[in-house]
């Protein structure tokens, strides 16, 4: 009744192949965009930007990237943290080497550099499959973190071994450095997330996306029907790493401002993003956002309840959070292996029939 496709007639191929074929979906999408671009930037404050919205958008980009690789192309990766570190260090080197070029271009270039590194570490995927590959990507994770720790050139020989983002502006407003305002941080991340989600959505429903899915479902069969596994797998690694690199660049330059590689981009980051796509839903754009929202909001909520309301010590709250995350992962895998995206689909199905379910 509320949500229905009946009466929504398509009269041209253009109509039929649009991103959101159902009118209600389209309206919902425009409404979300209107709120995100038109209202939130004017009402946002530092707490909401730093605790919720900016990390949500950045992790959503990372989750999109990993979802392309794992959810669409079926190549499990535990190297997300390492690739995010590549994006962060690339943008840092670019920012300090070419201060006059726009930071936005640097962020995109950092994505490009990460894509190249991703392809390099993706090469073994042609021989190694399943969780053998997952373990092989750990090599990327540990090697890259070690590299950025040990080679002083990457952190410009700074005494602390940290990288710190200098101030850069877009249209006269600071977007990196300590003087950045909350709306500026939010808008940079929002624009990136919007563009990349749009790109991901259209890539995955096009020829490339179908090739990835064929490889995911069975790579030998895909090869027989004419999908080149070399190109499909490596393009998945490239596109995925591009997204993850941009997420890493934003995380360092816009959100954290300063980063130490082992702490900010360690193995835990890889697992965090992996959890996002499991909880959100493998092979779903909406799921990447839902999973990122869930994993960003849950610790904030738990902290407010346990530390804020019950006055428990923070370390205990942190341990209980670990337990809850673990239990949630297992529960999700048992109850709904397809994640929040699937729950959303079921809700829509219910709404379609409501209030006459028979």
């Amino acid at each position: 009744m509320i949500y229905r496709e009946a009466g929504d007639f398509k009269t041209s191929y253009r109509d039929d192949s649009q991103t959101f074929p159902i009118r209600l979906d389209r309206w919902g999408y425009y409404a979300i965009l209107a709120v995100a671009f038109g209202i939130i930037p004017f009402v946002i404050n530092d707490y909401w930007a730093n605790a919720v919205l900016v990390p949500f958008l950045i992790y959503a980009i990372a989750a999109l990237g990993l979802n392309i690789l794992t959810g669409y192309a079926g190549q499990v990766s535990l190297g997300t943290g390492g690739f995010m570190a590549v994006g962060a260090y690339a943008v840092y080197k670019l920012m300090t080497a070419f201060p006059d070029v726009s930071i936005l271009i640097h962020i995109l270039l950092a994505g490009g550099i990460t894509a190249a590194v991703g392809v390099l570490f993706g090469l073994p995927s042609l021989r190694i499959k399943g969780f053998y590959l997952a373990v092989a990507t750990l090599a990327a994770q540990f090697f890259l973190v070690w590299l950025f720790n040990k080679v002083p050139w990457f952190y410009n020989y700074s005494a602390s071994g940290q990288i710190t983002a200098p101030e850069r502006t877009v249209l006269g407003h600071a977007v990196t450095g300590p003087a950045t305002s909350a709306p500026a941080k939010y808008l940079v991340c929002l624009v990136m997330a919007f563009l990349l989600a749009w790109l991901a959505r259209n890539l995955t429903r096009g020829m490339l996306g179908r090739k990835w899915m064929a490889i995911r479902d069975m790579d030998i069969a895909a090869e027989i029907i004419g999908v080149d596994p070399l190109r499909a797998k490596l393009s998945a690694f490239a596109v995925s790493s591009f997204f993850i690199g941009i997420a890493g660049a934003l995380l360092f330059a816009v959100y954290l401002g300063a980063a130490e590689v082992g702490e900010a981009f360690g193995i835990n980051k890889s697992f965090l993003v992996l959890f996002m796509i499991i909880i959100g839903g493998l092979g779903s754009i909406f799921g990447s956002f839902a999973g990122a929202a869930f994993m960003v909001l849950m610790p904030v909520l738990l902290k407010n309840v346990l530390v804020g309301t019950l006055n428990w010590p923070t370390d205990l709250a942190a341990h209980i959070e670990l337990m809850i995350v673990g239990a949630l992962i297992v529960t999700f895998l048992i109850v709904e292996p397809h994640g929040l995206a699937r729950l959303w689909r079921l809700t829509k199905e219910k709404l379609r029939l409501w209030p006459f379910p028979h």
Binding site: V135, W146, I220, F271, I320, L322, G326, I334, P337
Partner: protein, 327 residues
């Protein structure tokens, strides 16, 4: 000449470290063979076992921190200490109970899922156990002492000093670890070859359906295998815990066991041993020979890169079963 002797010492120490890796890898292989589950939580199991052992030994009140926070009490210890043997026995009981719960609450509901889903479930399990261990026993670094000899082995030092004019430094604990690992492997092999349950376990590993059809209870076998893996984890936890204290980094050893497995092949117990030795010696020798040139600390990644390069040439590992794929 000095360099050669020094290198030989590094080589021996690498072998000893390799034994430790093999211990963790063994637990992986057992579970993988019997249930097809790639158990990421094995390292955390070792951590949890070691934490429980220390907790029981010192007579800590479980969940003390949580109870104190919730009810405003200030419990911490019962005020007694438990002898090592009894504490180990109690810990084994806890691990068996844990195995039962894991089977009941997690594995039973995931039968027939894809391996990768099971793998991710064990990652979730690892997070849960890590949190549980901390909530139960506290997150501070603990020292574990069950009476294993420690410190430099004087006998070997004087012996080698007599041969080469240079005494080798080998920790007595490492020698003990090697002996215990060898005994453990022998016991496991004997168990799986000569007992009824061991045969049933191998049958399940071979073919779930066929094993079911001849009347073997899958659930019993799984609880048993996870219990054995819990026991192996306890042994590994005691070794690592005695060596470097019971702390979170213990669970990272599990990650090191992954390349060991990839080298040896996921399904082979000898593979786990040989893989462990190769990785142990490899990373120590690499650090000794190449490390100083590139800034050191290569041990963090060497094992993974070695496994990666190796897998490209032999995807099933050294002793793994050949991977055959059909459409």
């Amino acid at each position: 000449m000095d360099q050669v002797i020094f290198g030989a010492e590094v080589f021996l120490n690498g072998l000893m470290t390799g034994v430790m890796y093999s211990l963790v890898a063994l637990g992986f292989v057992l579970i993988f063979k019997a249930s097809g589950v790639f158990n990421y939580a094995q390292g955390v199991l070792a951590l949890f076992a070691a934490l429980t052992l220390v907790g029981i030994q010192d007579g800590q009140v479980p969940f003390a921190h949580l109870i104190n926070a919730a009810f405003g009490t200030s419990l911490h210890h019962f005020g007694w200490t438990v002898p090592s043997i009894l504490a180990i026995a109690l810990t084994v009981l806890v691990m068996v109970l844990l195995a039962f719960l894991i089977e009941k609450l997690v594995l039973q509901h995931l039968v027939g899922q894809e391996p990768i889903i099971l793998f991710m479930a064990t990652i979730g399990l690892a997070y849960f156990l890590e949190g549980l261990g901390d909530v139960m026993w506290g997150a501070d670094i603990k020292t574990l002492d069950v009476g294993l000899p420690q410190g430099i082995s004087d006998g070997i030092e004087t012996l080698t000093a007599g041969w080469f004019g240079y005494g080798f430094f080998i920790d007595r604990l490492d020698i003990w670890a090697t002996v215990i690992a060898a005994l453990l492997v022998a016991a496991l092999v004997a168990f799986s070859q000569y007992t009824k349950q061991g045969r049933a376990m191998r049958a399940v590993a071979d073919d779930h359906q066929a094993a079911l059809s001849v009347g073997i209870s899958l659930r019993f076998i799984w609880v048993m295998v996870w219990s054995i893996a819990g026991f192996v984890a306890l042994v590994a936890g005691i070794m690592w815990g005695t060596k470097s204290g019971v702390q979170f980094s213990l669970s990272l050893i599990a990650l090191k066991a992954l390349p060991v497995l990839m080298l040896g092949g996921f399904t082979s117990i000898p593979g786990a041993i040989v893989g462990g030795l190769i990785i142990g010696v490899g990373e120590k020798m690499f650090e000794f020979l190449i490390g100083p040139m590139v800034g050191g600390a290569t041990e963090t990644w060497f094992a993974y890169v070695l496994a990666l390069v190796f897998l490209v040439f032999r995807p099933q590992g050294l002793f793994g079963e050949r991977i055959i794929e059909r459409v």
